[in-house]
Amino acid sequence: MANKTISVTVNGGSKTSEVEPRRLLVHWIREALGLTGTHVGCDTSSCGACTVLLDGTPVKSCTMFAVQADGRRVTTVEGLQQDGKLHPIQEGFKEEHGLQCGFCTPGMMLMGAALLEENPDPSEDDVRWAISGNLCRCTGYQNIVKSVQWAAKRAASEQPGAHA
């Protein structure tokens, strides 16, 4: 069973490695790249802890082979901050106490970040809908929703020409 060489742009940098085709994307990210922010929750496609963005679209990295990502762009939670500055969604989770144990948090933040790209001013319903494939065993979701909405406000106030 032939290995494949893949090149994937991960968090802005190009990563090339040889992988067995059966290697799941999540294991490649965690074990080959050492990016352990992407979690394995259920390993049965049900929880969303393994969420990454593939060309900007949220997917379950436990339900995809690493070879499928060849030539594409992957963003993990480690890629949210830019130049040492936290992404508004990360600040939102801090300000609104959007996490407890933190296990679901990388997936929640990536879902939130992807939502804000499409919908800069989401209602509570919009946020709940967007995170409906991501399970949290701790928070009861309330503060996760608030965190995403906090981030939306922050991002809006950072727009050039916005009134704070």
Partner: protein, 287 residues
């Protein structure tokens, strides 16, 4: 969980994919969204020697109307959920899309993949049964069309040949005056249906011209409620007709008791959903 080892093939044209399939046939599996196949491979319920990933093939990802509606093999459930054309013209599809699995799965899972997977709890097959859709398949240079009602044979079984690729699902023009919906009882977001009902009607004035009804998760495969469809064709949607059609659908259902509910309960829910859908259609006519 690790699937068994396999060779990965990523053809860039449909012809290449078909010749790979012709060579490996029974030993190969087509990979579309992977949202059913990969979980099965992880559990080793599926252990193909070759994976033929069709995601790099161009030309399979479009939704367009040309006398009928063509939904290509790489159209994701998410694409349907967002399509303005679907919302305007194909309300049963628009209603079903957001009720299927969860946003992450919908971003990858395809409509055609769901039909090929033929899970009796899959939602798309009921919608396509109600809309009298055909699957278009290629085998080498040969193309054939199979009505979805003949395509799905039983649990996880279709009439697709191992060397065939389904390239699109083709949905007849619903006409100008239509009604459609999908109703789904699920225990939580992302769960498979306890019961699902797809209803599609084309009207000629106050009369139903064509009726399509598909039932999910109440039999060994999705069920086309043909007797109810025949009763409705040519009829007006009065209370008696609606009640009789709902009864016929409940009789057509063949559910089993399981964790999601008893057989009696599921049958009763089929009756409730069909009657709600038809009442909504009648109310739309009266308005």
């Amino acid at each position: 969980m690790f699937p068994r080892s396999f060779d990965y093939l990523a053809p860039e044209s449909l012809d290449d994919a078909l010749s790979m399939l012709a060579e490996h046939g029974e030993d190969a599996k087509v990979l579309a969204g992977g949202q059913s196949l990969i979980p099965l491979m992880k559990l080793r319920f599926a252990a193909p020697d070759y994976i033929i990933d069709i995601n790099r093939i161009t030309g399979l990802g479009s939704v367009h109307e040309n006398g009928s509606l063509s939904v290509g093999a790489l159209v994701r459930t998410h694409d349907i959920e967002r399509s303005e054309l679907i919302r305007r013209r194909y309300p049963a599809m628009a209603a079903a899309a957001p009720l299927i699995s969860d946003p992450l799965v919908r971003n990858l899972g395809t409509v055609v993949g769901s039909l090929c997977h033929a899970d009796p709890q899959g939602d798309w097959a009921s919608v396509m049964l109600a809309m009298n859709a055909d699957i278009v398949c290629r085998n080498g240079a040969a193309e054939r069309r199979i009505p979805v009602s003949e395509f799905v044979q039983g649990p996880f079984t279709t009439t697709l040949d191992p060397t065939e690729i389904a390239t699109e699902v083709d949905i007849p023009d619903p006409g100008a005056d239509t009604f459609g919906t999908y109703m789904k009882l699920e225990r939580k977001v992302g769960d498979f249906a306890s019961v699902g009902v797809a209803v599609h009607l084309s009207f000629d004035g106050r009369k139903v011209e064509r009726a399509g009804i598909g039932l999910t998760a109440v039999g060994p495969a999705n069920i086309k409620a043909t007797e109810a469809e025949q009763l409705l064709a040519g009829a007006e949607l009065d209370g008696g007709t609606i009640a009789r059609a709902a009864d016929l659908c409940a009789e057509a259902a063949d559910p089993h008791s399981d964790l999601r509910g008893s057989a009696d309960y599921k049958r009763a829910m089929v009756r409730v959903f069909v009657s709600r859908a038809l009442n909504a259609a009648a109310a739309g006519k009266a308005a």
